[in-house]
Symmetry: C2
Subunit: 215 residues, 2 copies
């Protein structure tokens, strides 16, 4: 039985999936600080969770840690990484070579986490054929061909809201089933396609309201 | 009794606060499409919530809607906006005039939602004094003075991870209590300061894992 089938059979709640990479980030930070062991309560507190929830979340990954001893930081980090399939490089495409697309293209954090930006697209003749560092801006007309040739698994959309749905439809048509969307509109996609949205204004709205509550 | 005190006494759960701007975004999209009325179940489905949860979330705002009739789209949008204090302009500063800071500085979506980028800082002598469109890049040494003069309420940090905690400490010292952090480290701030983090790699990690589960 493969890893993917095992995961599906365990029916991990979405909320737990979203917390796993957060635990991972903190574990990596701890490892960098030279901390080798951490209790579930300490790790939970760092990650804005609580002990029982963290232990429940990690229980989906199998047996882990010894009661009263705490977690081995590096081992747990490696275990979460491997469970989430993050220990192999994945090819990523960016759609839109505007300000945001260009900034994302140059963001070094992706490569550090195993996400390789291997192609960027635009429809502007003034941009097509130019370079962003060592990456050529491709014509959006070649979307299907380039996605296939470069084995793209995840697409990042940094396009205006007015174009986002149209582009998402094309990505789905060409077999992409994971999209990170920066356009401030809600994409309609089939059930087998997963999207995450970063809506910058919504983040400021949430902050703005929390600020009032915290005062 | 002021709006802020009323809100605090109602003890709205954080999860509800995070959903309110999402409802708002969908309501604004519906209004643009010319749709005047929507049922709670329909709005909930659009926003990835469910009817009872949406009705509970909105119950924190007071009585709203008539059973069986649905919500008046524009009126509900206005009500959420006003409840969250989003119907006034707020001044925002960006720290870091690198690729991401510059892209954020030029992002038009902020102004549309009432968030005015009024100053951007950097510590690089090659950047200080230059312009991003009509905004001058200020010396980070003038942080305190500029934040006060421009009545900045929210700061966006687009700085390297190694500098993020140091800069967050300064922002807190100078009275900022709302920070949107793009650096991939977890900021330590006092309890009365609210932070939100956009960790781009974490988003790709979540997508990557959901993708496996959805297949």
């Amino acid at each position: 039985m493969g890893r993917e089938k095992k995961i599906k059979e365990k029916k991990i709640p979405q909320a737990a999936i979203i917390r796993l990479p957060i635990y991972l980030r903190y574990l990596n930070e701890l490892a960098q600080e030279g901390i080798n062991v951490i209790s579930s309560n300490e790790l939970a507190e760092l990650a804005g969770s609580n002990g029982p929830q963290l232990r429940k979340d990690l229980s989906y990954l199998g047996e882990f840690g010894t009661r009263g001893v705490g977690y081995d930081v590096e081992r747990l980090a490696h275990y979460i990484s491997s469970f989430m399939g993050l220990n192999k490089e994945q090819s990523v495409a960016i759609i839109g070579a505007g300000k945001l697309g260009t900034a994302l293209c140059r963001y070094k954090g992706f490569a550090e986490k195993g996400f390789k930006i291997c192609v960027i697209f635009d429809d502007d003749p003034n941009k097509i054929g130019k370079n962003i560092d060592d990456l050529l801006i491709e014509d959006i007309k070649n979307l299907e061909k380039e996605l296939k040739e470069k084995n793209v698994e995840i697409c990042i959309m940094a396009v205006p809201a007015s174009q986002a749905q149209n582009i998402a439809d094309k990505l789905v048509l060409y077999g992409i089933n994971a999209i990170l969307n920066f356009a401030p509109i809600s994409l309609k996609v089939p059930e087998n396609v997963v999207t995450r949205q970063i809506d910058l204004s919504v983040e400021l709205q949430i902050l703005s309201f929390f600020k009032v509550l915290a005062q």
